[in-house]
C-alpha cells in the first residue's frame, strides 16, 4: 500500500465539514490547492500520424468518388505525353480549344438532364438542328448575329420543351421520349438541310461579329472556349448555390423524397430539359459560326460520345450528382484520347476499339471501386495502437472481492420510466434531472422522486449535465453538442463545432460525442468531445482503437466561441472543477487515469492526478467532504489489458471475427470510487454481481445521499451515505447560496 502511494501526494486531511442538521449554513468546503506542480506530466501528442488512418480518412472523403476518373485522366495525359511529341503544345491545345467547346457545352447540358434523373438522347439531333437554324438565319434570312444567337438558343429550347413536356410534365419514360425526338428531329433536320444546303453554301455573306465568334481569339483563347468557361462556371454555381440547382439534384437523387419535401418534381424536370435544350442551341450556334456549314453527319453519334464522356466523368450513370468538374475531366479524357490517336495516324477502327475497351475498363474498375469503397473504409477505419495503462494500484483492500457490495442497499428510482440516464443532477430543492436515450431531459420532483416528467425534448443523446449560475441546465448531447435547457423547458444549442485541428484529413470541426462538462466560476464551460472518430452507437470501438481521439473544449458564453483546449486525449470523459476552483479534473477512460488541468495555465498541458484505476473512469463529481466521487463504467481485466498491448491482435479480430464475438471491455459491471482531495482512493461502492445498477456512469451527492445513473440502465439508484454532511447540495456548494 505504501509503495503504491510512493511518488504521489500524501492524502491531506482537509477541513472536514462535520455533518450538520438541516438548516445550518452550508459553505463550500475550503480546500487546499491541489499540489499541481508535484504531479507527473501527462504526455499529449501534438498530432496523430498514422498511414492507415490517413488512408481510411482519404477514402471516406466525398471527392474520392471522382478518384478513378481523375486517375484515368492522368494516365491518359501521361501516356500521351510519353508517346507523342507536341500534343500538349500551345498550338495544338489552342486548336482543340477551338473545336472542343461546343461538345463541352453539350456535355454540360446532358449533365443537367442526367443529374435530374433523366436522359437526353436528342442532343445530337438538336445540335445539328440548331446549327442549321443559325446558318439559315444568318445566310438565308440575313439576320444580324445578335438575332441569330437567340434564334438558335430558342430552337434548342423549343426542342427541350418537347422533351420536357413529355418526359417531365407527362412523366413518360425519358429514354424512349428522347429517342423519339432524336429520330424525329434528325429526320426534320435532314429534310430541311437538304432543301437549303445549296443556298447556304452559295451565300457569300460575311459579317465581322460572325467571324469573330468563329475564328478570332479573345485573350489568347478562342471565343468558344470562353463560352465553355462561362457555361461551366454558371452550371457549377447553379448546383452549388442556387435553389433551382439544389432542386435538380434533389429530384435526381430521390424523386419521392423531393416530392414529399415540397419540390415541384415535374416542373423541375421540365425546366431541366429546357435548359439543356437551350445550352445545346448555344453550342449549335458556336459550331455554325465556326464551320459555316452543316453536313448530313453533323451531330451523328454525338449523344453516344458525350454519354460516354459523362459516364466516364461521373464514374457510372449516377443521377443526383452535379459534378461539373468531374464531367469535364471525363470529357477531356475521351477527347484527348480520341484526338491523340487520330493525330498519331491510327485507323478509325482501331481508335474505336481502343476507346471502347478503355472506357469499359475504366467503368469496370470504377464500379468495383465504388462498390467496395465502404468495405475498404470499414476494414481500414479501425486503427488500433498499443496502449498500456498503469497497473492497478491504490485500491488494495477495496476490490469487489474484498469488501461487501454497498450498492446492494440502494433504493431504485424511476425504474422503467427512463432509459439510459448517463448523468444525474439535483437542484437545490432536490429535484432530480437526467437525460434519456430518446433525447429528453427528464425531471423527478422532490422529495420522493416518484414520477418522471419531461422537462425538455432536445433530441440527440443527452449525456453530462451541469447547473450554471442562473440555475439552468447545460448538457452535453452526443451527436449535437452543447445545449442549454432552462427550467421552463426552452433550450438552445450553444455549440456544435470547434476549430479544425491543424493536421487532419477528415474535417473534425463537428463535435461528435460531447460527453461531460463543468462550468468554471467565471462561467466558462469546459466539456469533452470523447472521440472524434466514432459516434455514440460505436463509442466502445474507441477502446479497441485505443488512440487519443478525444479533446477537451471550452465554450465562452460571453463571446459564444468554442475553442479546443487540449486535443488528442484518450477518451476524455468526466469533467469536474476541483474544489479549489482553479484546477480541472478530466477522466481519461481508456487510460484509467484522471488528468488535472490548471485553468490559469491551460497551455502547460495536463498532469496525472490518479493513474492505475481498477476500472474505466466515467464521470467525476465533487463530494461534500472535499473529495470526489468517481464512477467506474466498467472494470479492467487482464485479458483486455493484454489485448491493449497488442494492436495487431485487435485489428485482426475486428477484420476476421464477427462483431458479436469481439473481445470487449467489461462494461457491464462497475461501481463508484470515493477519492480524497488528492485523488487517493478511500472507499469503493460496488454493486452485487447480479445487481440492478450495472455500469454506473455518474453519481451525485445530495443531502446525505448518492444518486447513481448508468448509460445503459433504465433506473436511478439512491444510496444513503452515513457520516456525510446531509445538508450539502452540489449547486449551493459551488455557486453559493442565493
Amino acid at each position: 500500500m505504501t509503495q503504491a502511494f510512493a511518488g504521489r501526494c500524501e492524502p491531506k486531511v482537509t477541513q472536514l465539514v462535520k455533518p450538520q442538521p438541516d438548516g445550518a449554513v452550508h459553505r463550500p468546503a475550503i480546500v487546499e490547492h491541489l499540489d499541481f506542480a508535484a504531479l507527473p506530466r501527462q504526455h499529449v501528442p501534438r498530432f496523430v500520424l498514422s498511414p492507415r488512418r490517413i488512408f481510411s480518412d482519404v477514402l471516406s472523403r466525398g471527392w474520392i468518388e471522382s478518384a478513378i476518373p481523375f486517375l484515368a485522366f492522368l494516365v491518359v495525359v501521361i501516356t500521351i505525353l510519353s508517346t507523342t511529341d507536341g500534343f500538349f503544345s500551345s498550338g495544338n491545345l489552342r486548336t482543340m480549344a477551338q473545336y472542343a467547346p461546343d461538345a463541352g457545352i453539350v456535355v454540360l447540358a446532358l449533365l443537367i438532364v442526367v443529374a435530374a434523373g433523366g436522359i437526353d438522347l436528342s442532343i445530337g439531333s438538336n445540335f445539328a438542328m440548331t446549327a442549321f437554324v443559325a446558318l439559315f438565319g444568318f445566310h438565308i434570312l440575313e439576320l444580324s448575329v445578335w438575332a441569330v444567337l437567340p434564334m438558335s438558343v430558342m430552337t434548342g429550347a423549343v426542342i427541350g420543351t418537347v422533351n420536357g413536356t413529355l418526359a417531365g410534365l407527362l412523366g413518360c419514360g425519358a429514354l424512349l421520349t428522347t429517342l423519339g425526338t432524336m429520330i424525329t428531329i434528325r429526320g426534320l433536320y435532314t429534310l430541311a438541310s437538304q432543301s437549303q444546303l445549296v443556298e447556304i453554301s452559295a451565300s457569300a455573306r460575311i459579317d465581322a461579329a460572325w467571324d469573330y465568334i468563329g475564328f478570332e481569339r479573345f485573350a489568347g483563347m478562342p471565343v468558344g472556349f470562353w463560352a465553355l468557361v462561362v457555361v461551366s462556371i454558371a452550371v457549377f454555381f447553379m448546383y452549388r448555390q442556387s435553389r433551382f440547382g439544389w432542386h435538380l439534384l434533389a429530384v435526381g437523387g430521390n424523386r419521392k423524397a423531393a416530392r414529399n419535401g415540397g419540390i415541384q418534381v415535374k416542373r423541375t424536370v421540365f425546366l431541366a430539359y429546357i435548359m439543356a435544350g437551350a445550352l445545346v442551341g448555344l453550342a449549335g450556334f458556336l459550331y455554325a459560326a465556326r464551320q459555316n456549314s452543316v453536313g448530313s453527319d453533323t451531330g451523328i453519334g454525338m449523344e453516344f460520345f458525350l454519354l460516354t464522356a459523362l459516364v466516364l466523368g461521373l464514374g457510372g450513370f449516377t443521377p443526383g450528382r452535379g459534378a461539373v468538374v468531374s464531367v469535364l475531366i471525363g470529357f477531356a479524357t475521351i477527347y484527348f484520347l480520341n484526338n491523340a490517336m487520330i493525330n498519331a495516324g491510327f485507323r478509325g477502327d482501331l481508335v474505336q476499339f481502343t476507346q471502347g475497351f478503355i472506357i469499359l475498363s475504366i467503368l469496370a474498375i470504377d464500379v468495383r471501386f465504388k462498390k467496395n469503397l465502404h468495405r475498404l473504409v470499414a476494414s481500414s477505419y479501425l486503427d488500433p495502437v498499443k496502449r498500456v495503462p498503469e497497473p492497478v494500484q491504490g485500491a488494495e483492500g477495496l476490490m469487489p472481492d474484498q469488501i461487501a457490495p454497498k450498492l446492494a442497499d440502494a433504493t431504485i428510482l424511476g425504474a422503467g420510466e427512463i432509459d439510459g440516464p448517463e448523468d444525474v443532477i439535483l437542484d437545490v430543492q432536490g429535484n432530480l434531472y437526467c437525460g434519456t436515450r430518446d433525447g429528453r431531459i427528464v425531471r423527478f420532483d422532490a422529495p420522493d422522486h416518484l414520477h418522471a416528467r419531461t422537462l425538455a425534448k432536445i433530441g440527440g443523446r443527452p449525456l453530462g449535465l451541469a447547473f450554471d449560475q442562473e440555475g439552468r441546465i447545460v448538457t452535453c448531447v452526443a451527436g449535437m453538442g452543447l445545449v442549454r435547457v432552462s427550467m421552463d423547458g426552452t433550450h438552445e444549442l450553444l455549440s456544435d463545432q470547434t476549430g479544425r485541428s491543424l493536421i487532419s484529413v477528415q474535417d473534425d470541426t463537428t463535435i461528435r460525442m460531447a460527453d461531460d462538462l463543468d462550468i468554471a466560476p467565471d462561467g466558462m464551460i469546459y466539456f469533452t468531445d470523447a472521440t472524434k472518430r466514432y459516434d455514440m452507437e460505436n463509442w466502445a470501438m474507441d477502446l479497441l482503437e485505443g488512440r487519443p481521439n478525444g479533446r477537451l473544449l471550452s465554450y465562452d458564453p460571453r463571446s459564444g466561441r468554442t475553442r479546443t483546449v487540449c486535443d488528442n486525449l484518450v477518451f476524455p470523459n468526466g469533467v469536474c472543477l476541483a474544489h479549489d476552483r482553479r484546477h480541472l479534473l478530466v477522466a481519461s477512460t481508456w487510460e484509467c487515469s484522471i488528468l488535472a488541468f490548471d485553468l490559469q495555465d491551460l497551455a502547460a498541458g495536463p498532469r496525472v492526478l490518479v493513474s492505475g484505476l481498477p476500472g474505466y473512469p466515467d464521470n467525476i463529481n465533487r463530494a461534500s467532504d472535499g473529495g470526489y466521487w468517481l464512477a467506474l463504467a466498467g472494470m479492467r481485466n487482464p485479458v483486455i489489458d493484454l489485448a491493449m498491448k497488442h494492436p495487431n491482435v485487435r485489428r485482426r479480430m475486428t477484420r476476421r471475427v464477427p462483431p458479436t464475438n469481439w473481445l470487449f471491455g467489461n462494461l457491464n459491471i462497475g461501481g463508484v470510487l470515493k477519492l480524497d482531495s488528492a485523488g487517493s482512493i478511500v472507499d469503493a461502492f460496488w454493486d452485487r454481481p447480479d445487481g440492478p445498477l450495472y455500469m454506473i456512469t455518474s453519481m451525485r451527492e445530495h443531502k446525505g445521499a448518492l444518486y447513481l445513473g448508468g448509460v445503459t440502465n433504465n433506473k436511478i439508484g439512491r444510496l444513503d451515505l452515513p457520516d456525510v454532511d446531509n445538508g450539502w447540495t452540489g449547486p449551493d456548494s459551488y455557486w453559493g447560496q442565493k
Partner: protein, 335 residues
C-alpha cells in the same frame, strides 16, 4: 376519363391497353393503305412485307428477351454486323457453309458472353456496358477482318449464301422459315422453360430475384447469348439478301431504333417483366406495315423517320395517358 379507361380495361381483361391501341392502329393502317395505296392489298405485297420484316422480327426476339429481363442491348446491331462479317469472311476463305456457321455462332456466343460478363459480373449498367461493347465489337471486327473498310461484299454465287435466300416452297423462303422457328423458340424460351420464368422474375424485381436465390448471373449469360445469336441470324439474312455487309448500319442507328420501336410499340415496357411473343408480332406487324405502306407511297426515308418518331412519341404519350406511372413508386433509375 378513368371511368372510361377502367371500362376499357375490364372489357379487355387484364391486357395491356397499349397493345389494344396498337392493334387498332394497325388494323386501321392496313385498311387505310388498302384503300389508298395501289398494290398494297395483294398477295405479292404480303410476301414482300413478310420477307422484308424477317430480320426485324428476329432482332426483336433477341431484344425483347433482354428488355423483359430489364436489360438493354444497344450492341445488337454491332453484333449483327460482326456475325455477318465473320460468316462472309469464312466463306471467302473457302470454308463450307456449315463450318462457317459454326465458327460464326461460336464467335457470337463469345461476344454475348462478354456482354453478359460485363453486366452480370463486372456489374456495369446494361445500357452503358452494351453502348461501350458496341464500340469494341465494331472496332475489333473492322480492324481484324475488314482492315478498316466499311463494306464487305458477299460472294452471291456461293451456295452457302444462296441457300439463305431460296424458297423452300413457293412463297415460303428460308428467311420466313427461320423467322418462324425463331418466333417459336422465343415463345418456348419465355413461356415454357424455367429460364423464362427467371427472366420475368428478373424484370419484375431484380433484387428480389437475386435475393431469393435465383441464378440471375447464369440467366443473364443466357439472355445476352440469346440476343447475340438472334443478331447473328438476322445479320446472315440481311447480308445474304443485299449481298453486302455494311457497318454503317450500326452508325446511322436507324435499325436499332426500329428494333426498340417494335418492342416498345408491341407493349413490352422498358422496365421489364411484362410482354411476350404476342407483343413482338404485334410490334413487327405495325412497323412492317408502316414501312411498306409508306414506301409504296414514295415517302422518303427521312420523312419515314419523322413519321416513325412521331408515332413513337404519340404511342408513349398515349400509353402514359391510359396507364399513368405512379410517381410515388417511380425510382430514378427508371428511364
Amino acid at each position: 376519363m378513368t371511368l372510361i379507361t377502367d371500362a376499357i380495361g375490364k372489357m379487355l381483361g387484364q391486357r395491356n391497353i397499349l397493345e389494344v391501341v396498337v392493334l387498332g392502329v394497325n388494323v386501321a393502317l392496313i385498311i387505310a393503305f388498302a384503300i389508298l395505296v395501289d398494290g398494297f392489298a395483294t398477295l405479292g405485297n404480303l410476301s414482300v412485307i413478310l420477307s422484308n420484316s424477317t430480320p426485324l422480327a428476329i432482332l426483336s426476339c433477341g431484344m425483347a428477351v433482354v428488355i423483359i429481363s430489364r436489360g438493354l442491348d444497344l450492341s445488337i446491331i454491332a453484333v449483327m454486323v460482326a456475325g455477318a462479317t465473320t460468316y462472309a469472311s469464312g466463306i471467302e476463305a473457302g470454308l463450307p457453309g456449315g463450318l462457317a456457321l459454326l465458327i460464326t455462332a461460336a464467335a457470337m456466343i463469345t461476344v454475348g458472353m462478354v456482354n453478359a460478363w460485363l453486366i452480370a459480373f463486372a456489374e456495369l449498367p446494361a445500357m452503358l456496358a452494351t453502348l461501350a461493347s458496341a464500340m469494341v465489337i465494331m472496332g475489333l471486327f473492322r480492324f481484324a477482318i475488314l482492315q478498316g473498310e466499311f463494306m464487305l461484299l458477299l460472294p452471291k454465287s456461293n451456295s452457302a449464301v444462296q441457300i439463305l435466300t431460296t424458297d423452300i416452297l413457293p412463297g415460303i423462303s428460308v428467311p420466313i422459315v427461320v423467322t418462324a422457328v425463331v418466333l417459336v423458340a422465343t415463345w418456348v424460351l419465355l413461356s415454357r422453360t424455367i429460364v423464362g420464368e427467371i427472366i420475368y422474375a428478373m424484370g419484375d424485381n431484380f433484387a428480389a430475384a437475386r435475393l431469393s436465390g435465383l441464378p440471375v448471373r447464369p440467366v443473364t449469360v443466357v439472355i445476352y447469348v440469346w440476343a447475340a445469336l438472334m443478331a447473328m441470324l438476322a445479320g446472315l439474312l440481311i447480308s445474304s439478301a443485299s449481298g453486302a455487309v455494311d457497318f454503317r448500319m450500326v452508325t446511322n442507328g436507324s435499325l436499332l431504333f426500329d428494333v426498340i420501336l417494335v418492342v416498345v410499340l408491341g407493349g413490352i415496357p422498358l422496365r421489364g417483366g411484362r410482354g411476350g411473343l404476342r407483343n413482338i408480332i404485334l410490334g413487327v406487324a405495325l412497323i412492317a406495315v408502316l414501312r411498306n405502306g409508306m414506301t409504296l407511297m414514295n415517302v422518303t426515308t427521312q420523312t419515314q423517320d419523322v413519321i416513325k418518331g412521331i408515332v413513337l412519341l404519340v404511342a408513349i404519350a398515349t400509353e402514359n395517358f391510359l396507364n399513368p406511372r405512379d410517381i410515388e413508386t417511380d425510382t430514378v433509375g427508371d428511364l
